[in-house]
């Protein structure tokens, strides 16, 4: 068998694939963060909580409403998006004129409150959520056993990321968004309802997080804590990528997922810090991040 650094190529391929799956979550989450940041200048600390909410709403729909995975994949992000819209209307809106750090602090508090509430209501050991029947089982790829659901995650996350990218780069709504990112006031003077646009953007970002959450539900335990650790890693991903472009957020997400996956093979002890280490190196070499535009 061919070996690379003492690891069979076959195993390596498997690990690369797994890295890509994790990267799918990073990409979806950092994409949402980037969209929100781009327009609202808010670092959405509650992104992890919204990811968790997505998974939880899917769980609750199933447990109490008998609504299965497929409808939940749409309904849960919509529900969380609506919640996001309400939050934006009632609270975030009041912070736009202030130092962006206040937005960070507010969403931080919100993350605590949401997580606390779910821990209070549902405990912390997590809730079960089964893989949808259509995607159960797995296939043998020769070099690894790939659960079909994991394959689905890669495909659907790519589709959603590219879809979002197209939405922003190629549509009228996207043009409004991009323009408003550059000069909010002017777009408003032209007669575009920017306040509404801001609400929609936050809802979209929150919805993307929730979508990632629903995708995660059959893989990870649906637990109130599932978002709080991943969000810090996603922050590091964002620092590495730099808040320059939507594409940047997506690409960095996948690449760092793979980097982390490889570390799990070669030096598993470091796999939880590898992204932070990469972040430190990037900061030394390119403080603006790989795709960042600002100096």
């Amino acid at each position: 068998m061919t070996m690379i650094f003492g690891i069979p190529v076959q195993a390596l391929l498997g690990q690369l694939l797994i890295g890509l799956i994790n990267g799918s979550f990073y990409a979806l989450l950092s994409l949402g963060l980037a969209i929100i940041f781009g327009l609202l200048r808010v670092i959405n600390f509650a992104h992890g909580a919204q990811y968790m909410l997505g998974a939880f709403v899917a769980y609750l729909m199933l447990a109490y409403g008998g609504i299965g995975y497929w409808p939940a994949l749409i309904l849960a992000p919509v529900a969380v998006g609506l919640f996001g819209a309400v939050v934006e209307r009632l609270f975030l809106r009041r912070l736009y004129d202030l130092d962006p750090l206040y937005g960070l602090l507010f969403t931080f508090g919100m993350a605590l409150a949401i997580e606390g509430t779910f821990r209070y209501l549902y405990g912390s050991s997590g809730q079960p959520y089964a893989t949808p029947a259509a995607l159960a089982g797995g296939t043998n790829l020769g070099f690894m056993f790939l659960p079909i659901y994991r394959g689905w995650v890669i495909v659907v996350s790519l589709v959603v990321c590219i879809g979002t990218w197209l939405l922003i780069e190629k549509t009228k709504l996207g043009a409004y968004l991009r323009a408003a990112t550059e000069n909010t006031v002017l777009v408003q003077v032209f007669g575009v309802n920017v306040p509404l646009l801001l609400t929609l953007t936050y809802a979209l970002g929150a919805g993307l997080a929730a979508f990632a959450g629903v995708l995660a539900a059959p893989i990870y335990q649906v637990s109130p804590l599932m978002g709080s650790n991943i969000i810090i890693v996603v922050f590091a991903v964002v620092v590495v990528g730099g808040m320059g472009s939507i594409m940047g957020a997506i690409v960095t997400g996948y690449v760092l997922g793979i980097a982390e996956g490889l570390t799990k093979v070669f030096y598993p002890e470091a796999s939880n810090i590898v992204i932070f280490v990469i972040m430190a190196i990037v900061l030394l070499v390119r403080p603006a991040g790989l795709f960042g535009r600002d100096a």
Binding site: F106, G109, G116, I273
Partner: protein, 329 residues
């Protein structure tokens, strides 16, 4: 755009100064007498966190840098002190010194990386780096993992004051707290503090006057880290253990809350903030209500309608203005 560090104008009126002096005297008296009325361990904890919050505020309130990683210095110093005192038999004063130096070193490393970016990025980077430090502490041998370093002896201060006596310990903590506060005060009102202030006011202008802004920020970061370390080192002696909670990111969040609640950029605000948070946590522990929810909600309310914090609101209030305090942006 409103800067997060709304500042109090340097020259308060004479009345304000005398009111302040009055408050200070009363405060000091209360602190001296407090152990006769309150539970000393609780008071010591309060002082430790108050010092921690003030150290944090030194950075946020006076240089405008929001660090989301101060737990690293607080908890790191706690580990260093606990370890050297317990395993190497250092006397308490030397143990605390080790903690402070260690924290300053951590501050130097983290600061060196983080000050390359500003604002929210700075916050995210410090958060990520402190998470890295958390994992380090979790995995490192000397921290004894989730057990923590337990049963740390308080020892004899200068070889003759027995710190196991809780009254002695209290006055020792109080003394350190006051020294820490004086240091912060001196630091803010020093030539160096003046430069920090001007950097915060107009960074580009400061550069064009030849100040290497990065170094001044790094200097402030290290000082803040060292003082946070002082608080952490002290805490490890008070409670006689050092554990992972002190290096976790939630701790960084708490110190932000304390500062925000008390009043960012006010010298004494964080003391009130720390007092409130510590009391609240203690109270909530035995109540029915879950702590995280309350903490989160308090955070949200503070940011939305209470940004100046307790002390800041007082300065800006009718009474405060009558007394001659000036609070402006």
């Amino acid at each position: 755009m409103t800067d997060i560090t709304e500042t109090i104008r340097a020259e308060k009126s004479r009345t304000a100064l005398s009111v302040q002096a009055g408050f200070l005297t009363i405060g000091l008296l209360l602190l001296l007498l407090a152990p006769f009325f309150f539970y000393p361990i609780f008071l010591m904890k309060l002082l430790c966190f108050a010092l921690f919050a003030c150290a944090f505020n030194l950075l946020l309130g006076y240089t405008g840098l929001l660090s989301f990683g101060h737990a690293t210095f607080f908890g790191g110093a706690a580990y260093f002190t606990a370890y050297t005192v317990k395993s190497w038999g250092f006397p308490p004063e030397l143990g605390i010194l080790t903690g402070v130096v260690g924290a300053a070193f951590l501050g130097l490393v983290m600061g060196y990386l983080a000050i390359r970016r500003q604002g929210i990025y700075f916050a995210m980077i410090t958060l990520a780096l402190s998470q890295m430090f958390f994992f380090f502490c979790l995995q490192a041998e000397f921290t004894e993992g989730e057990d923590g370093i337990q049963s740390v002896p308080r020892g004899q201060l200068f070889g003759f004051i027995d710190l196991n006596n809780s009254t002695n310990m209290y006055y020792f903590v109080l003394a350190i707290f006051i020294i820490g506060m004086l240091l912060i005060w001196r630091f803010i009102h020093s030539p160096f503090g003046m430069i920090l202030k001007s950097i915060r006011e107009n960074e580009n202008r400061a550069i064009s006057l030849g100040y290497s802004v990065a170094r001044y920020k790094l200097g402030a970061f290290v000082m803040s880290a060292a003082l946070a370390g002082l608080a952490g080192a002290l805490k490890s002696l008070v409670f006689q253990f050092a554990t992972l909670t002190d290096v976790a990111w939630q701790m960084s969040g708490e110190v932000i809350l304390m500062t925000l609640l008390g009043g960012i950029g006010t010298l004494i605000g964080p003391i009130f903030g720390a007092g409130l948070v510590v009391t609240l946590q203690n109270y909530l522990a035995t109540s029915e209500f879950p702590v995280t929810i309350i903490t989160g909600v308090v955070f949200m309310i503070c940011v939305l309608i209470f940004r100046r914090g307790i002390v800041g609101e007082f300065y800006a209030s009718w009474v405060g203005r009558k007394l001659g305090f000036v609070y402006r942006r």
